[in-house]
Symmetry: none
Amino acid sequence: MDRREVVRGTVRRMEPIKAAAAQLAPELFDRDRTIEKACSAIAEAGRNGARLVAFPESFVPGYPYFAFLLAPTQINRYVATLYREAVQVPSPATDALCAAAKSAECYVVMGMHERRGGTLYNAQLFIGPDGAILGCRRKLMPTSHERMIWGRGDGSDLSVYKTELGTLGGLICYEHANALFRYALQVQGEQIHVATWPGGMPGINSIIDAAARSYAFEAQAFVINVTSVLTEASLAALEPELRDQLKVGGGYSGILTPRGDWLAGPQLEGEALLYAELDFARIDAIKSIVDSAGHYARPDVVQLKLNRKPQSPLDDGST
Amino acid sequence: MDRREVVRGTVRRMEPIKAAAAQLAPELFDRDRTIEKACSAIAEAGRNGARLVAFPESFVPGYPYFAFLLAPTQINRYVATLYREAVQVPSPATDALCAAAKSAECYVVMGMHERRGGTLYNAQLFIGPDGAILGCRRKLMPTSHERMIWGRGDGSDLSVYKTELGTLGGLICYEHANALFRYALQVQGEQIHVATWPGGMPGINSIIDAAARSYAFEAQAFVINVTSVLTEASLAALEPELRDQLKVGGGYSGILTPRGDWLAGPQLEGEALLYAELDFARIDAIKSIVDSAGHYARPDVVQLKLNRKPQSPLDDGST
Amino acid sequence: MDRREVVRGTVRRMEPIKAAAAQLAPELFDRDRTIEKACSAIAEAGRNGARLVAFPESFVPGYPYFAFLLAPTQINRYVATLYREAVQVPSPATDALCAAAKSAECYVVMGMHERRGGTLYNAQLFIGPDGAILGCRRKLMPTSHERMIWGRGDGSDLSVYKTELGTLGGLICYEHANALFRYALQVQGEQIHVATWPGGMPGINSIIDAAARSYAFEAQAFVINVTSVLTEASLAALEPELRDQLKVGGGYSGILTPRGDWLAGPQLEGEALLYAELDFARIDAIKSIVDSAGHYARPDVVQLKLNRKPQSPLDDGST
Amino acid sequence: MDRREVVRGTVRRMEPIKAAAAQLAPELFDRDRTIEKACSAIAEAGRNGARLVAFPESFVPGYPYFAFLLAPTQINRYVATLYREAVQVPSPATDALCAAAKSAECYVVMGMHERRGGTLYNAQLFIGPDGAILGCRRKLMPTSHERMIWGRGDGSDLSVYKTELGTLGGLICYEHANALFRYALQVQGEQIHVATWPGGMPGINSIIDAAARSYAFEAQAFVINVTSVLTEASLAALEPELRDQLKVGGGYSGILTPRGDWLAGPQLEGEALLYAELDFARIDAIKSIVDSAGHYARPDVVQLKLNRKPQSPLDDGST
Amino acid sequence: MDRREVVRGTVRRMEPIKAAAAQLAPELFDRDRTIEKACSAIAEAGRNGARLVAFPESFVPGYPYFAFLLAPTQINRYVATLYREAVQVPSPATDALCAAAKSAECYVVMGMHERRGGTLYNAQLFIGPDGAILGCRRKLMPTSHERMIWGRGDGSDLSVYKTELGTLGGLICYEHANALFRYALQVQGEQIHVATWPGGMPGINSIIDAAARSYAFEAQAFVINVTSVLTEASLAALEPELRDQLKVGGGYSGILTPRGDWLAGPQLEGEALLYAELDFARIDAIKSIVDSAGHYARPDVVQLKLNRKPQSPLDDGST
Amino acid sequence: MDRREVVRGTVRRMEPIKAAAAQLAPELFDRDRTIEKACSAIAEAGRNGARLVAFPESFVPGYPYFAFLLAPTQINRYVATLYREAVQVPSPATDALCAAAKSAECYVVMGMHERRGGTLYNAQLFIGPDGAILGCRRKLMPTSHERMIWGRGDGSDLSVYKTELGTLGGLICYEHANALFRYALQVQGEQIHVATWPGGMPGINSIIDAAARSYAFEAQAFVINVTSVLTEASLAALEPELRDQLKVGGGYSGILTPRGDWLAGPQLEGEALLYAELDFARIDAIKSIVDSAGHYARPDVVQLKLNRKPQSPLDDGST
C-alpha cells in the first residue's frame, strides 16, 4: 500500500500521502491549554488519515500581537508571561505533543515560543510518528518588533529532515523574504515545506500568497502554508488594549502543489483543518522543467555558502 | 526638480520617476521591422515622461514558439531564420535603439536574441539616455526546449547597472525560479528590476504573478514586469503549424511596488505601454522592515558566492 | 610642549590633554541643523583647549524615542524621516564635521544614524584633527526597540584608533553590557574610551553610572561618558504624543579616571561641555595593580576570539 | 511549596528564595575558632530561612592585611602562621562546615586560604545543603601584594554549580576586573553570583560598588556581595604594627538585583547577616532586554575561548 | 607527641624527626658481611632516635671501582664476583635488612647492586619500619664506565613513597645531573630526598656539593646526602691493582635544609652516622617563596611528561 | 685565527673566546644615565678583547629593592618612577646599547625592566655585535615581592640564540630554581649561559653559588654569572628609608666551566669587569661523561613538554 522509493537517500513517494494544515487559534498565553488543543487537532488529523499536520507560527502560546500594537514601554507584563508560558525542549509540554503524534501516527510541525537559557526563540518543533523529536529549528531573523521578543537562530536551524514521507523543511514568516534562507532548504532536497505565519494580520495576505506560491515553484516542493486565525474567543481572551486593534479573521492557510497552485485553501476565516493529497509525481513533473538545485543550477557561477555550525559565545572545546 | 542623493554609490531618488512596461508584439522573425517598432515605442514613452522603458523577453525578433510547438525534427528552417535575424552587439540594429533612447532621453531595456560567434543567447540589452550601451546580459540557463536555441550566460551576466535613476537589474523568465540568481542582483543593491517573459502562454500567468510579486518583496525593489502578447497580426504572421496552437492574448505586464503590489497592470490582453510612478520612499519603507541584503541578512550563516568571471573555453592569460 | 612616548605603537602621553564631553540636545530629526550645532560645539571645545570632543549616541539627528514610546504600528512616518535625515559617509554632512574638527584641531567622536544601503546603523564617527575620517563603527547589537530601527555591526566595528593623543575606542549604550565587546577594545590597548548613551531616560542613570565606572576600572582607561539631554526646546520640537511622555533632563555625562572616579560630572541637567585633564600617569598607576590585558590576564585559560572580518552576504572574491 | 522549573539543565525558580551575605569578622589567624564562628552564622542564617549564605574573601582565617601593611622582609612569621592555619580540603575544618550546612539545610560559600601541596590559594568553597562539597575554586590571579601569598588557579576554577536553587558561581575581589573571567561564568548560565572581597579597606568601596552593580547587570544575575569588616575585637587581636594602620569598619556587603540595584546593603559598618529575597522573575525581566550570552551575544564576532583543563606541571597520563 | 597533618595525601610533619646518613665503608665484594654491617648501623641509628637511615650508592657489596681503574680487558673476574654477590629482591639478604628496619622502627634506604635476570642494576631499596619493602628503584642511566656493569631503569623507578614521615624519594649519583629526573620526584611532592654517591672519589666532591645544595633548594626538600668512604680496611681488602690507585677518605655525606644549607656534614673523612633534625616548617618557609611544582611552576609553558610504565621487551598484553 | 666548526647548526668553537661579567651598580632609577654607564662598560670590555659581556638582572634602571624593604602601601611613587624609567624595545635606550655593542664588536646581554603596554617585565635583552637585537626574554615567574612589579613571560621566552660564538641562553634569578625552565635551555644546545641576579643581598649568595655551579654541570655549559653590587654611591642615591636597610657589597659575579668550577670570581665586593677564556673543548670533555640532553637523556621515560607559543589574551587569527 505504502510504496516509496529511495533515491540517493531521499524518499520519492510512489503514492500520495495526506497532509493537513491546522488553521487554529491558540488559547492565548496559556501554554498548557494550547498544547491540549493542539493534541486534539493532531488526533483528529490522524483519524482523517493525515500523515503530517502543521501548526501556525508561535502557536504555543500565541503570537505576541502586543509587541506591535503597544508601545514598548507597555509590554513588560506580557513579556513576563511569555517567559513563563514558553516551551522548553524537552518538557512536559513537548512530551504531550510527542505522545499525541505517536498516537496519531503522524508527523507534527509545531510553531512555538521556545525558551533556551534567558532567551526566547520563534521555533518550529518537528516530531515523528514514533513520538521522537526530530529537531527544533529557530527563526534566523525575527522581524521588526519581534526582535524585542526573540533571539536569532543559526546555521544549525537550516536543516531538513529526511523522513519516510519525504524530505521535510520549514521556514517561518519573513524568513521567506531571504532568498538564501530559502535556497538553503531547497538545495538539501526539500520535498514538503512547512511555511508558517502568525495569522490575524490580513494586511500581509498578499505577501503570504506570493511567498507561498513562489516558494513552491522555486523549490519544486509541496507547501503546507499555515497561519493562525483570530476568533471571537481569542479576541475575548485579550486585554482590551489589544482586542480593540484586532479583528476576527486573518487566516490564509492552505496547501500548494510544487508548481505553486493551491490544492487546498487559502482559508481566510475560521478554524479549520485543511487537507490535501500530496502526489510526488507532481514534483517530478515540474523538476523536469526547472530543478533549481539540479539541472537548473549554475554552481560554476553561484553557490550558497552555508555555515551549519551552531554558534555559541563559549568555545571550551566541548563541541 | 530632479533631486537625488548618492548613498555609498547607490542613487536614492528624492522624487518619483516614471517607468514604462512595453507589452508589445514583435514583427515576428523580422529584426529590422521589430527594431523600428521598438524605436517608436521608445519615442512615445519618452514623450509621456517615462525615463525607463522595458521590452519583453526575446522581443527582437520574437520568442521561438516553434521550439515547443513543433517536433525538433521540424524546426531547422526556423532556427536558420533566427540566426539571420538575431542581433549582434554592436550593429546597425543596436545603433538604431541607442539613437532612439538618446532622442527620448530614456533608459531602454530590450529583450533580444543576441548572436555571439556561432551561438544565440537570450539577452537583455541595457541602453542609457545618452545612447550608450551599458551592457548586454545573457540568460544563465535557458529552459527546456529553449536549450535547443540558446547558449548559457555566466557570472558576468549577473551585474547591475548604477544609473542616475537608481540601480537597475534584470532577469529573464525562469531565471526567477533560481533563488541564487535573484539574490545576486538583490545583494548588489538593485532598486528597479526588469523581469521579462515571452507572453503568449497564459498557462504560466500564475507563475509570473507569484514570481513578480515575490521578487519585488524579497528585493525591496520596483519590478517592471514585461511580457509580449499575441495579437491577431502576430498570429497572422505565423505559419499555420504554429498559429493553430496559439491564441490571441497571453499578456501579463505591469509594474509593482517594492512590497509586491501592482501599481500598473497586470495587463492580460492587447498591446500597451503601461506606466507607473516609482516613489523611492517606498523602498525605504519596506527596507526598514526587511532589508534582505542588509539588516535582514545573516552573512555569518549564509552567503552568496558569486563567480563574476566571464567564462571562456580558452585561457590564454589574456583576462 | 606636547611630549609623548610611543610604547609598541601605543602613545603614552607625558603631559595631560584636555578632553570634552558634549552633553547637548540635537535639533531633533533635522540632520543639517544638528550638524551645524555640533560644529559650533567643536569650535568652542577647541577654543577651550580640548583636543578631543565626544558627542552622544545617535546625536545626528537624535535618538528615536518614538521607537519605545509609540506602538510599532504608529512609527512609520518617523522611520521615513530617519531614513531621510540619517548621515551617509562620506557626504556633505560629514564634510562639515571634518572641517570643524580640522579648524578646531580636535579629535571628534560623533554619534549618528548612519545609512548604508537600505539599512540604518547606530554609529560612532571618529574624525582626526586633520579633518580626515578615522573610521565609523556600528553598534554590534541594538537593544530591544532599537532593533526595529538599526542593523547590526560586525567584527570590523571593534577596532581602536591609535592616535597622537593615545589609543581611542568607543562603545554605544548597552554594548557595555557585553563583557566580550568591552574586552575587545581593552585588549587592543585602549586608553581613552568614549561611552555614549541616548540621554533623556533618567531611569537608566544607575546603569550608566555603574557601567562607566566599572569600564574605566576594568580597562584602566579614561572614559568620556556622553549622553544627550532633553531641553525645553527639544521637547517643544517633538510631536505631542512623544513630548508628553518625556521630561526635561536625563543627562549623565562626565569624564572618569582609569580607576573609575569622576573627574567631571556626572551632569544631570542642561546642556554643557564638560572638560577634564587626562593625565596618563594615572593609567600607569592603576595598571601597576591591574593590567587586564597584561599581567592580570590569563591567556593560558581565557582568550577573546575575535573575528575582525567585515561580514557581507556576498562573497565575490572582491574583499 | 518549593516550585522550580528546569530549563536545559538550569533551574528557573518559580518562587523567591532567601539568601544571606555574612559580613563578619574572622577570628584572625585562628582557623578553628573562625570555623566555629562561621558555623554559628550558618545556623542562624538557616533559622532565618536563608537557603544560601556567603562569606567574605579568605574568611578562614582572615585576609593577610600584613602583606600590604608590612615590608616583605617583615612578614615571614605571619606567612608561617598562614601555612599552619590554612584549610585543607577535605579536613576536619571542612567537615565542620559541611555539617553546619547540612544542619541548616543551606548552601554555603566560604572564603578561605586553601593549602594544596606547598602552595596557598585564595579559594571559595561551595557546600550543598546535603553537606557535600560541590567544589573549591581558586582565584585565578592574586593582586599585587597577594602574589606573595597565593598561587594562581586555572580553567577548572571557572565553573558554575547547577543546584536546585539555580546556577551558582563566584569570583573573588579583582577577578571582577577581568572581563573574560566574568563572562566565563555568565556564559554558563550563572543566576546567583557570589562576589567576595576582603573588607577593611574603605578606599576601594567605590570600586566594589561599581563592580557589583555592573556585574549584576551584565550577568543578569543576582549578586551576593560579601566583604569582611574590621571590628574592635578584630583590631585588638592584631599586632600593633598592623592594628595601627587599620580602622574599624570597611564593610560593603549587600545583595543586588539582576539589574544592579541594591536589595540589601551596602552595609558599611559592623557585623551583620544581610538577607534578601531573590525573585527569579527579575532575571527574566532583564534578560528580555539584554541576555549577554543569549540574544545579545554575537558569537559570530566574539567568543570566549576557555581552557577548562586543570593545569599540572606533571603529565603522566593519569588525567 | 608525634603529630602530623595530611595535606592532599602528603604528610606535613608538625614536629621534627631525626634522620641519619650512614657514611660507611662496605665489606667489599662480600654481600653477607656488608648486610651484617648495615644491620648494625640500622640498629645504632634506631637507638639514637633516627626514624630514617640512608646508605651510600651500591653499598652492597660496594662500588665497582675496578670498572674505571682497570682496562676493560682486565675486569672479567671482578664482574663475575659481582654477579654472585649482588642482591636479589626478595632474598635472605633483604630479609635481614627488613628485620633490622623493623627492629629499629626505622625507614631504611639501602644502596645495592640488584640482580634481575641476567642484568645487574644500581638500585636503592626502600624499607619501612614495619619491615616491608616499599620499593626498589634502579638508576635510570649509569655513567660512563658504569654502563659496563649496570642496566638502565625505567619510569617505574621515578616514584616517591608517601610515608608517615613524609614523602620520600631518591636519586643516585649523576642522575642528579638530569633536570627531568629530578623534577619527576619534586613534582610528586617529595619532602625528604636521599641522594647517594659512591664516595672514594674526592675529585667530584665539588660536584656533589653543588648538586646536593641545589637539589634541596629547587625541591624545597630535605636532602640526606650519602657517600661511602674509603678506610684503611677497605683499601686493604682490595687487590693491589686497585688499591694503589685509591686513597683513604673521599666522603661527602651530610644532611641539608630545604634551602640548601648543611644541617650536618659534609663529612670528608672516616665512617660516621650523621644525624639531623628535620623541621618541616622549614619546607613551608621556603615554599612560600619558591614552590617549584606549585605557585612557581608554569604548567601552561613547561610540563614534565613522565611515562611511568615499566618497560619490557615483551608485550603480551599482561600489563 | 677565529676558527669554529658548525655541528648540526650549533657552533663548536675551536679556540677560546673571552667573555666578561659586568658586576656594576646602576645609576638607580635613572634609565639614561645607567644606559650611558653600560655603554662605557661595553666599550671597555670590547677593548679588553671580550666578545660577550653580560649585565646584572634589572640593571636598567636598577633592582626594585623598595619592593621588599617597604610596605606595599608605601611604594606607589617608586612604581611610578619605574614605569617612566623602564626600557621599551625598541627605543633610544636600546638604540644606544646596540650602537655600543656594534662599536665594541661584542655580544651584550642586558638586564632591564621592559615595558610592554601597561605591564613591566624583568627582561634580558640580547644584542649582537652587528648592533641588531637578537631577542628580549622575560622572566617567566617573578618571585614573591617582585610579583607586585613584573608580569610573567611565556614559552617564547625560553629560546636560545645560535650565534657565531656558540649557543647563548639566559635565565634570571630564581628561574634557576625551576628544573623545567633550566632544561628548556639545555635541551636546545645551550653552550654559554647567562645567569643574572640582583646583587645587594648577601643572604642568598649560597643559593647563587649552588645554582651557578649546578647549572654549569647539568647543562655542560659555561655560565656567566652576573650580579649587581651596592656601592657607596648607589646607597647615597637612595632614599634613607631604603638606604638604611641595605649595605655596601653583595656581589657574587664570576664565570664557570661546564663542570661547575669557577674560572673567574666569585667577586663579592666592588664594581668589576670579570673576564675568562671559554675553551669549548671543556664542553666536549664533560659531555663525554654526561650529556643531559643527549646520551644521558631518557626520552622514553621523561620529556620536557614545551609550549613555545606566545600567549595573548586576544586571538584574532593574526598570529
